[in-house]
Symmetry: C2
């Protein structure tokens, strides 16, 4: 009998999502960047490994647009897939849970256990829908701060994430400098490009134009699956590089040798995107997709600092590891270098690595020796500094 | 009183679209690459300038995905816009109508006067819709051949176009080598990339998912404007470069200084794309959009030649001018160089120019001195050779 992957000595094994709720009276509600308030706020989260006595080994992992609190391990023995960053989280892995205490929480506005548009609005007794306040990266981080307080961790060894997770890692260093020893920012930017906004907007338009969407009010009818799947298909193009698509699919046909001369999806790349779309609908909420993309579009670190990125990083006190991928055209290396330059101009301690790869933006989710080595070494040196 | 632009000495002035129909008995129908037949076939076309006595000055201009037969001049004194390539066609312009006889026809499958899915199917008495046969670049060119026969032009001085028009220019040189003196191929490829197919497919999916589309049967109900507009928005992103989008829009907001913290389209780039989408619906047919994108995806010169691009160009006898733009990521320069290398390996006469620009794929539709100079010089030398 084959052993289950939960038994792999490098797996965190079976894990359970936990929930922390704050903002119910007598607590304060979460005041959002828009000025609106949110209460109560529930954060779904998971932890792997153990917090050491000195509380110096905690790492907060921050997920991307479609991520969840479930970053590692399995939810059950029937679970076909491990958490989204399982390749990097576990005993002996990059985020070594035999040494570190790893935390990951679902962002607010999400749809995997944390309060979001699909949650019940206590004021109305029905799902928020578009009544949910617009969420910003800053709001996500502020909500996570409550969780870290709850876990009684005074200072995080590292905050880390890729893409929207990288934005949160940057924002942690800015919002709570005294609580962040180091920030590992992967495939991210201090603001998304005009082209990136354009792609997010056409994804949102795909959802708006699905009649089931019904202005966000569909939780008791039918979900706007057509629109959400199309949004995912569009976005997925931006997650891969042209070269990877060429290598992976080229002009090859699916299940056929000859053109069918009709409008079937016959190219492999069409079929691949189609199935990515379908799969996504089973696990993600269309309104959350709107909120997540809007949070990304709205994020612009310098906008709170007189449009001056240097000023934005002035008060940070963490060390930084910034990583970009050569073929990432959604968050191109030039945007990582902007961050690095602004940090260095402030005299901050920054390691920057550009990883040569054809895998595009999604490279941060894939196994990569160089990514592994860079993060491992950086973490080890940060841990030494933290406990010394 | 201001003079009307039709009076500009460099304008071809007022022009009228003409129509040529073939394939009605006793003519033969057009046999398509799929094996299906189309009859009758009407081609909408316009001509500018005069055919000289020796019939050596005819240039066939080939349009891109959304183009029409109306390449230059004005249809009326109230016409707000001239033809789509008016900047390059007219007396004293690149395609100098005081010297050359310029022809442009709407492709079959289109929706601007030539037979396409919105035409009446003589067998049913109603619009073809998806009953229209799949159109390939080869079919477009074969239909144009009938027009050129009708105009009694034994040999074209040049065939030219950008994007899908460039594909047709290549195909003319391959399908009818004896009829083409030169081929000017701009921002094109011998086949579109996997990423290009992906973008075309998500555009098609936007149309399929519009309930009004109704499997292509909507000519007597409501057009799938939401889907078509979204398809155009998506495609438009690929026509511009990231850098151009950054310069043109950046993260600037439309009609507001502050975020509205809702789902309005507030970034300028969002509003720009939105209006591009709306505008397109007023002038283009959704089914034609499906047929045009499919023609592009299906085009693969080498597929008829044992997957050997060298073999494909072996029998061509025209000279070639190949032009690409550095920031065109839809038809990147590398694809133009593939064509150039294959032609050169065959000992063909090729001039290749890569134009440095931030304007992306749409650069071929915009004024550019270098584009102008390259085409002008090439044409002059071809004309000298043609008449000598």
């Amino acid at each position: 009998m084959n052993s289950h992957p939960v038994d792999d000595p490098q797996s965190v094994g079976l894990v359970k999502t936990k929930y922390y709720t704050f903002g119910s009276p007598p607590d304060y509600p979460l005041v959002m960047k828009s000025g609106r308030t949110l209460a109560p706020v529930t954060l779904a989260y998971e932890t792997y490994g153990s917090l050491n006595e000195s509380k110096t080994n905690a790492i907060l992992v921050l997920h991307a647009l479609s991520g969840t609190a479930h970053a590692a391990g399995y939810h059950s023995l029937d679970d076909p897939h491990p958490g989204w960053w399982d390749i990097y989280i576990g005993p002996g892995k990059v985020f070594d849970t035999s040494k570190y205490f790893v935390i990951c929480s679902n962002v607010i506005g999400g749809c995997n256990g944390s309060t979001g548009p699909s949650s019940i609005n206590p004021e109305t007794g029905i799902e928020y829908g578009l009544e949910f306040p617009i969420v910003t990266i800053q709001d996500m981080v502020n909500a996570q701060w409550h969780l870290i307080q709850h876990l009684e961790i005074p200072k995080l060894l590292a905050v880390t994430g890729g893409s929207m997770g990288g934005m949160q890692a940057l924002q942690w260093a800015i919002s709570y400098p005294e609580m962040v020893k180091s920030s590992i920012v992967i495939a991210a930017a201090s603001s998304i490009s005009a082209q990136g906004i354009a792609f997010n907007e056409v994804g949102r338009q795909a959802i708006y134009r699905d009649p089931n969407w019904n202005n966000g009010d569909y939780y008791r009818t039918s979900v706007p699956g057509n629109g959400l799947a199309l949004a995912r298909m569009i976005a997925h193009i931006t997650y891969l590089s042209e070269k990877l698509m060429h290598e992976k699919f080229g002009r090859r046909l699916q299940d056929t040798e000859l053109y069918s001369f009709d409008f079937q999806s016959e190219f492999m790349v069409e079929s691949y995107l189609y199935h990515q779309g379908i799969k996504f609908v089973t696990r993600f909420d269309a309104n959350s997709y709107l909120y997540m993309t809007k949070a990304i579009d709205y994020y612009d670190i310098k906008s709170d600092y007189d449009d001056n990125l240097l000023l934005a990083f002035e008060s940070t006190s963490s060390d930084f590891l910034v990583i970009s991928f050569t073929s990432d055209w959604l968050y191109p290396s030039i945007q990582s270098r902007e961050i690095v330059n602004a940090l260095r101009a402030n005299g901050k301690n920054v390691v920057y690595t550009e990883i040569e790869t054809d895998r595009g933006h999604d490279a941060f989710l894939l196994p990569d020796d160089r990514l592994e080595r860079n993060i491992s070494n950086f973490l080890k040196s940060q841990f030494r500094k933290m406990i010394s």
